[in-house]
């Protein structure tokens, strides 16, 4: 019997029991759609995280103070004061793979403009800081080296700060706001960047010359971090090595002595986040595939019932010349078609679910072509695997007994 006749035959057998076929396919629909939805949502979240990390610059390198031990006691990193602007100067002067470096200090407190106020965090850097963190100026101008030398009380503000402090929509540039009672002049407004991968608002930011924060707000001489921009993504690791050796040198660390700083690249961050989301995606897909297996067992069950019901038909077909493999294919074809129909609707449903969920979560919606293709193959395989034994049973019936079966 040729393939077209087999498909016709299977189609007719399924149409004859529409409700049963639908319920059986439903198991596959649920299984496949949950696998598709889970994988596709996992990938969407991964992509959204990647996009955001990339938007911060994948060539970004951060040098942080590391935990220090004092007589065997871990005293944490808060009191470590080893990083200074001299380290920044050394990196800028000596590292080949570094395009820009900036000190980073931060302070938090209340921002006040007349009757309006909001909690705010202030970041301090040098003139390169905006470029390294991929901030751009919407209006006004960046502060200058002169501002840094004189610890000028000037700042750049993000959109969220403006919304909080200037609710009436007046032009903030040139206005004076107060931070911990210190008057600071707004000299520029930053372009909006949205939330970062941790869900933090990157527009809720005030950027000042680092020297101003050091001298006028915190009264410290060290800096919190160094932010560095490598010449490109590919040189980030080379730059990391350079920075480590430069800092060991400026900090006069002997061979064998632990680093008193740690260097992190954005790439590592990306990999870490990816491994977390990748694991979650795999876990969800694994749970979802359990329902696919249950759906497959449903098919097997129904195919067994079908074979028993149609024993007499099988006997007749054999007596008029159907070979064992004709009978086998007839039933296998039925279960494959059943699971493929389930698969098609399952894929559509899964994509719909992930589309809606992505829309609700503000994630980029992505159709994972390999996941869809794989699901289709899995469907066919499910049909073959779970249809095999019932079909085998049908094919191995003895025609004489099958004809006599009531």
């Amino acid at each position: 019997m040729n393939i077209i006749n087999l498909i016709k035959l299977a189609y007719r057998a399924l149409i004859r029991n529409k409700t049963r076929a639908f319920l059986t396919a439903l198991g596959i629909i649920i299984g496949i759609s949950s696998v598709i939805a889970m994988v596709s949502l996992g990938q969407s979240s991964q992509r959204s995280i990647n996009d955001q990390i990339s938007s911060m610059g994948t060539n970004l390198i951060t040098v942080m103070r590391s935990n220090q031990r004092s007589g065997g006691v871990n005293v944490g990193s808060a009191n470590v004061q080893t990083l200074t602007e001299k380290d920044v100067d050394a990196i800028t002067a000596r590292a080949k793979y570094v395009s820009a470096a900036s000190p980073f200090v931060q302070a938090s407190g209340q921002l006040v403009n007349g009757a309006n106020n909001a909690p705010g965090s202030i970041q301090g850097g040098n003139t390169q800081y905006l470029g390294i963190r991929k901030y751009e100026i919407a209006e006004g101008a960046n502060f200058t080296d002169q501002d840094i030398r004189s610890a000028a009380k000037v700042c750049l503000v993000g959109k969220t700060v403006i919304t909080n402090l200037f609710p009436n929509g007046e032009d903030p540039v040139g206005k004076i706001i107060r931070f911990n009672k210190i008057p600071i002049k707004i000299i520029g407004v930053l372009k909006s960047k949205g939330q970062n991968q941790m869900g933090m608002d990157q527009d809720d930011v005030v950027i000042m010359p680092y020297s101003t924060i050091q001298k006028r707000i915190l009264a410290i001489t060290y800096i919190h971090q160094i932010v560095v921009s490598a010449t490109s993504e590919t040189t980030a690791n080379l730059a990391t090595d350079e920075i480590e050796s430069i800092l060991r040198n400026t900090h006069k660390l002997k061979a064998g002595q632990e680093d008193d700083f740690q260097v992190r690249t954005q790439q590592e961050m990306l990999e870490m986040m990816n491994s977390v989301t990748g694991f979650l995606t795999a876990l969800l897909a694994a749970i979802a595939s359990i329902s696919l297996i249950v759906g497959g067992i449903g098919i097997m069950n129904i195919m067994y019932v079908t074979v028993t019901e149609r024993t007499k038909e099988i006997g007749l077909r054999m007596s008029i010349g159907a070979r064992n493999r004709d009978i086998m294919w007839q039933f296998l074809c039925e279960s494959i078609i059943l699971s493929l129909i389930g698969g098609i609707f399952g894929i559509l449903l899964g994509l719909l679910i992930s589309y809606i969920a992505s829309a609700l979560l503000n994630w980029p919606f992505s159709i994972s072509v390999p996941a869809v293709a794989l699901s289709f193959v899995v469907c066919a395989a499910t049909g073959i695997f779970f249809g095999w034994y019932p079909a085998k049973k049908a094919a191995s019936l003895d025609p004489i007994n099958a004809l006599r079966y009531e």
């Binding site: 019997m1 038909e313 007749l316 054999m318 010349g321 159907a322 070979r323 493999r325 004809l403």
Partner: protein, 242 residues
């Protein structure tokens, strides 16, 4: 080749538990082209077993069986399927038509398993077979829309469609009333006159009277093999009406 069917010392033994049951104990006979043979016997006489072997659904334990000159005893399952498909037409007591499938498609069924027949030829041959059994106006009917006699005619058309060398009927009138039985026998007689070889298993004496030869089985052996002057089923039908 005039001998359509030839058996030599056909034996069939079944293993029931530890006991051996001899269903056939050495059958020697032949059916020539154009014969209309009734095979009679009480239940347990081995006539079903014989029919299964003649129909290539079963293989003999010992002995030789030739159909249309082909030895069957040593054939594989697939080869037997092909012989059934090309050489044999079955007619069953309970018709065995596929439900919710039109008469025409039921008749086409054997040709579906013959890859050398195109879809077009299949349809044409099925139509011709249905015309032959007088159901030209019932082709699109489903079995449940047909009477018992009509269903058996569809089954006969299905048996004829592959142009078999022999028709094997197993109690083909067993589910029908006398009148319809005679109608079916009349159809078989017409087919036989047109040249079809027919083997007809029955246990009814009056049905056997319509055939040209009667073979009686008892305890797995042929005890009687007589040529008959067949009664005309048409005449019997008229007698019934009067």
């Amino acid at each position: 080749m005039n001998e359509i069917i030839k058996t030599e010392n056909l034996r069939r033994t079944f293993q029931v538990g530890s006991e051996e049951v001899h269903a056939l104990r050495g059958i020697w006979f032949a059916i020539s082209r154009g014969e209309f043979v009734s095979i009679m016997g009480t239940s347990g006489s081995g006539k079903s077993t014989l029919l299964n072997i003649l129909g290539c659904l079963d293989r003999p334990t010992a002995g030789e069986y030739y159909i249309d000159g082909i030895s069957v005893s040593k054939r594989s399952k697939d080869e037997l399927s092909e012989i059934r498909n090309r050489k044999i037409g079955f007619v069953f007591q309970s018709y065995n038509l596929l439900a919710r499938t039109s008469a025409l498609e039921n008749v086409e069924l054997p040709l579906l398993y013959n890859s050398s027949v195109s879809a077009k030829e299949r349809r044409e041959r099925a139509v011709r077979a249905l015309e032959q059994v007088g159901l030209a106006d019932r082709m699109q009917h489903f079995p449940n829309q047909l009477s018992g006699g009509q269903q058996q005619r569809v089954a006969i058309a299905r048996a004829l469609v592959n142009d078999p060398v022999i028709l094997l009927a197993d109690e083909a009138t067993g589910n029908l009333d006398t009148r319809t039985s005679y109608e079916i026998m009349s159809l078989f007689q017409d087919l036989n006159e047109a040249g079809k070889t027919i083997a007809f298993v029955t246990h009814e004496q009056d049905i056997a009277a319509f055939t040209t030869r009667s073979i009686l089985l008892r305890d797995g052996q042929i005890t009687k093999d007589t040529c008959l002057k067949p009664q005309s089923a048409k005449v019997a039908l008229e007698a019934l009406t009067n």
